[in-house]
């Protein structure tokens, strides 16, 4: 067991991917985030999981955040071996929020991604189960977006 600090983890990422990771966000954030471009999320996650010094084997949470002009997808990962944690964040454009899936890295991502897609409308490309989960399949819109307009009725039922 060798617990690494967020800075050390970020250095390792930087060493592997160079410009593939953008920055480390530590300001008033707990745990710190490594911000990566959406396109390289799969590689970064796979590296995080498989590198013997990192071994981030436990995907804790995937959250979508609507920052009005753009979306953020935040991945919280944890290593049960080294007991360190870090966040990975990818920023997506607001008009076309698409990001490659990480369910090929952690199976835990299946439901978390389904939920994020369902409530936030972020599309996870290549997901093995790209369906809605909490809302009905024919629901219109994604309620957790800030610009969500509440529907008046659903199939004639007043909401």
């Amino acid at each position: 067991m060798k617990t690494l600090s967020a800075q050390e983890i970020f250095e390792k990422l930087k060493g592997k991917f160079g410009d593939g990771v953008v920055s480390l966000q530590t300001e008033s954030v707990n745990p710190p985030f490594a911000v990566v471009p959406p396109g390289s999320i799969q590689e970064v996650c796979r590296f995080l999981k498989e590198d013997p010094d990192l071994l981030f084997d436990y995907l804790v949470c995937i959250s979508g955040v609507d920052h009005k002009d753009k979306f953020a997808v935040a991945y919280h990962v944890y290593s049960t071996e080294h007991r360190h944690r870090i966040g990975v964040k990818a920023m997506l454009p607001h008009d076309n929020p698409v990001i490659p899936t990480v369910d090929v890295v952690w199976k835990a991502a299946i439901y978390l991604e389904r939920e994020t897609y369902d409530l936030m409308g972020i599309v996870f490309e290549g997901s093995c189960d790209p369906n809605r989960i909490l809302l009905p399949d024919d629901w219109e819109g994604h309620p957790l977006r800030k610009d969500y307009i509440y529907p008046e009725q659903y199939h004639g039922i007043k909401i």
Partner: protein, 378 residues
């Protein structure tokens, strides 16, 4: 006969059976689409969301402190744990130090609630297995815990006890003595439960070797809490990422140890809950002995505005990790409030491990995961 009749000749049609949302043992409004070949389930696809109330959206609309009652509704069998987890998360976000006594009180009520939640889990699991009596035994003991909670906050189910910065009321006089009395009464009962039902041959045969999850799979699929520990992996957030006063307390992380069948089967998950109740009693006793005096509420401004920032806090609830991912933009309410729950992640692996079991085992699986639907649907 060298060649038996070809399988094609005896091919059978598969059925689609709808299990739930109104079914006696889906623990609420869970719906499963079962595809079965006779009694053998070839696929069980959970269909969630019948209890979706949009708690995360509500969290963005109400003030920080006003969200506290909603956390009760997150997991109605362990309201205290959700209360405290939310309070801890907000305090971590805002950097508030809370009084020592408040921390101890929170740990005390959390562990008491863990006992009552595991009691219901155990009882309803036994009821799913056809033994109705343990459920009522569990409810009987839970009443005692509810009485204690009624003393402390006036409520029996939705407590709304924790506050940002402490707890709403100090412990009433006589509470600690009552709690000690409960511990003395309850601890021998766990052995009685074991004698009554745990090692009953029928129950053991129903549960062992069913729904085996290896530790590797459990981590891969994001299981947490007793479901993960049932696979023999000693991972408890109270120990792995200690919060509050847990580092000062002496307790063991209970893991499954393949008591009767394969490691990580339903019986191991069952036993983990039974043994965790013992550990919780142990913690409660320590808290009773060591709880300090002092105030129970920190100074928190009436209009509470945490500084802008993000925070992910994890707490060990009876049903696994309850995580709050909070984003503040410096306003009076959360910019984003994401809740991660143990039951939701347990449903994730359900489709995988329910392949090839029988319809009766589906019930055992649901019971062994101890899912609770407000938590999965939020």
């Amino acid at each position: 006969m060298t060649e038996p009749i070809s399988k094609e000749a005896l091919r059978t049609d598969e059925w689609t059976i709808n299990m739930g949302p109104h079914h006696p043992s889906t623990h609420g409004v869970l719906r499963l689409e079962l595809t079965t070949d006779g009694e053998i389930v070839s696929k069980a696809r959970p269909s969630l969301g019948y209890l979706h109330r949009g708690l995360e959206k509500i969290g963005e609309r109400v003030a920080w402190a006003q969200f506290m009652p909603f956390t009760d509704r997150l997991d109605y069998l362990a309201g205290m744990n959700c209360n405290c987890a939310y309070a801890w998360a907000v305090e971590k976000l805002a950097g508030i130090e809370i009084p020592e006594r408040a921390e101890w009180i929170r740990v005390l009520v959390c562990e008491l609630n863990r006992i009552s939640s595991h009691l219901v889990a155990w009882g309803s699991f036994c009821a799913d297995m056809g033994a109705f009596t343990p459920l009522l035994y569990g409810i009987r003991e839970r009443e005692w815990v509810n009485d204690l909670f009624e003393m402390v906050c006036g409520q029996r189910l939705t407590y709304n006890y924790a506050r940002i910065g402490g707890v709403s009321h100090d412990l009433p006089p006589g509470f600690l003595e009552k709690t000690k009395e409960f511990c003395d009464y309850f601890e021998p009962l766990i052995d009685e439960y074991n004698r009554l039902i745990t090692y009953n041959k029928i129950l053991v045969h129903r549960l062992k070797n069913i729904g085996v999850i290896s530790a590797r799979d459990a981590i891969e699929w994001g299981l947490s809490g007793p479901n993960l520990r049932g696979s023999g992996f000693a991972y408890d957030i109270r120990r792995a990422e200690p919060y509050s006063v847990y580092p000062k307390l002496d307790f063991n992380v209970v893991v499954g140890h393949a008591d009767r069948g394969t490691l990580g089967d339903c019986f191991d998950r069952y036993l983990v809950r039974i043994d965790e109740m013992r550990e919780s009693v142990k913690i409660v006793r320590q808290v009773i002995d060591r709880i300090p005096d002092g105030p129970v509420m920190a100074k928190v401004p009436r209009v509470f505005k945490p500084p802008a920032g993000e925070c992910y806090f994890r707490a060990e609830s009876p049903r696994g990790e309850t995580g709050f991912y909070l984003i503040s933009d410096g306003g009076t309410n959360a910019y984003r409030l994401k809740i991660r729950t143990g039951s939701y992640m347990a449903m994730n692996i359900f489709e995988k491990i329910s392949k090839g079991v029988m319809i009766s085992d589906i019930v055992a699986l649901i019971g062994s995961f101890d899912i609770i639907l407000p938590e999965t649907d939020r």
